[in-house]
């Protein structure tokens, strides 16, 4: 993951060489940089630190800011707590279902939109853009009634379908760009060499789109893993909770006393997201700006 970050810095290194600057002039920016780093990273650091603290140490009047010999008791408590493992299982199931279905369906749609001209294409693309703006918070009310009518409340399938619908527009929009960037001529060349259209597509286009599939897949994963509101409303039985809902129940039940346990829980929930996020962050930023700046 640092490789990605470093790659970015190689280019900036050259920029700095080209623009000589006295060391002393960098003092103010460096101090400001340190402040920004502290503000950004401290809460995360504090979460991890608290999660390894003993109960008595957490409640001390003078907080300790450097790691002390800690304890794993908070994590053990989380692992043993009711419904934690069912929540992990539910979260994983929903996330994986959403991930694979979103990639598959979005890929088909992206191919249709970027490889064919047909009636309704433009309307579809605009609809995809508009739909992304519909606040999920507003739809939760009727979606609950709809799912209730289909007997899909407290159902992994119901929640997965919901997430799928909210993830698809962005995944289609992003993959569309990736597919469009693969020259059609490559496929056509393979076809004139005797490949079927399908084969040409599978052997030429698919491998070239793979990075896009990874990036959008991680996006879908993070969305489904983090989502809170729909899960809160749709999965209202304790054994159907996903991790965020479980954590919030723990948080509410703790009444501000078991901070060690709650921080351990949120650390566990955040770890996969942070890892996946660092893997793809460059694409997220690049994808949004590339068109905006150069276009």
């Amino acid at each position: 993951m640092t490789a990605v970050l470093q790659a970015r810095d190689v280019e900036s290194d050259t920029a700095i060489v080209a623009r000589p600057r006295r060391r002393r002039r960098n003092v103010v920016p460096n101090v400001l940089g340190a402040v920004v780093f502290l503000i950004a990273a401290f809460p995360v650091y504090w979460m991890v630190l608290t999660s390894f603290r003993r109960g008595a140490d957490i409640l001390k009047a003078e907080p300790e800011f450097v790691p002390q010999p800690g304890t794993l008791a908070n994590y053990r408590k989380v692992f043993k707590r009711d419904y934690f493992w069912t929540a992990v299982k539910n979260s994983l199931s929903v996330t994986l279902i959403v991930l694979f279905l979103a990639l598959f369906i979005a890929f088909l749609a992206a191919v249709a939109v970027s490889r064919f001209r047909f009636r309704g294409r433009r309307a579809f693309v605009i609809a995809i853009l508009i739909v992304q703006m519909v606040p999920a918070e507003a739809l939760i009310i009727s979606l609950f009634r709809v799912l209730d009518g289909w007997d899909l409340i407290n159902s992994i399938i119901g929640l997965s379908l919901t997430y799928l619908a909210f993830v698809l527009p962005f995944t289609i929009w992003t993959l569309r760009g990736f597919v469009a960037n693969v020259p059609k001529e490559l496929e056509e060349a393979a076809m004139t060499d005797g490949s079927s259209r399908f084969r040409a597509f599978m052997t030429i286009t698919l491998p070239l789109v793979a990075p896009g599939l990874v990036a959008t897949g991680v996006f879908a994963f993070i969305q489904a893993w983090n989502e809170f509101i729909f899960a809160l409303v749709i999965m209202n039985k304790p054994d159907k909770q996903t991790l965020p809902v479980w954590l919030q129940a723990f948080n509410e039940g703790a009444k501000g006393t078991d901070w060690g346990g709650v921080m351990a829980g949120s650390t566990l929930m955040a770890i996969p997201v942070v890892i996946f996020f660092l893997l793809v962050q460059r694409r997220v930023v690049g994808g949004l700006t590339a068109g905006a700046v150069k276009g």
Partner: protein
Amino acid sequence: MTSSLIDSDLESKQQTESEGSPGMEHVDGIIPRRRRVRPLPYTLLFPAVAVLGLMLGYPIVRLVTLSLQKFGLKQQFGAAADWVGLKNFRTILHDPEFWAVLRRTVVFCAVNVALTMALGMAVALLLKRLGAKMRLLVSLGLMLAWSMPALASTVIWQWIFDTQYGIANWALGRQGESWLSNPLTFYFVATIIVVWMGIPFIAFTLYAGLTQIPEEMMEAAAIDGARPWQRFRDIVVPVLKPILLILTSLSVLWDFRVFTQVYVLQRAGGITRDTNLLGVYAYRTSFGGNHFDKGAAIAIIMVAITVLMTMFYLRSMSRTEEL
């Protein structure tokens, strides 16, 4: 032109199926046309359209019908829902609480967007001036903040602002200060969370934009005697204008619908009436008060406002991206 092709194609199919119909004689003329309508793109689109239609389209329609019906506790248990026209909207729009919530939401959104954009821009400019190592460090910190799940972030800040043991109170020497039980300090904490979570994306995107500004342009301006502020106003802002527009619109859309942070802080602080924002208000009206009809009406007003703002976003988007 292609539109008529599909329609006539459908018609011709029906006609050929009903054998011996008078349509038969037209078939000859239609066949060469039919070849041009390719079913493949529609087949590829079908799953996406089906999911979006069932899980987004239908709920939107259902939201509209809910808002036009009487739908309370009884109807939840199967009683028939009567149509009441625009009654729910009238009730909502005459409710001073709704207007208070709306005002609060707009102010909260404006303050958060302004803070996120201004601080994001400041961090982007800072990133540009930093050396490679320091920039890597700051980027890592921002990345951490950015990647935190909304719920985890809220819970962390809740811990930091905890009344008894939170380090905010320790640092400020105000042991026992209850941040979440007063609307103003409640929003202060909520704003910190939203802005803290929002800055990284804005800063990275603007930084990416800044690196696209030709170095010579800035240098030429500096040689001509332009002060840093003038360079910022006359070069950076105009060049980044498209990105700034998109980012501002996106931030407005996101901060207008803030839910998780407010919901979790409310559960912790115990006051809801004076801290509701539009999203949480619609949720509480529906699920807390069992007024799905009024909740739906509030949600529709929320969607309507969002759509208006989206138009603005799409307009700035369509200038930069080819549809």
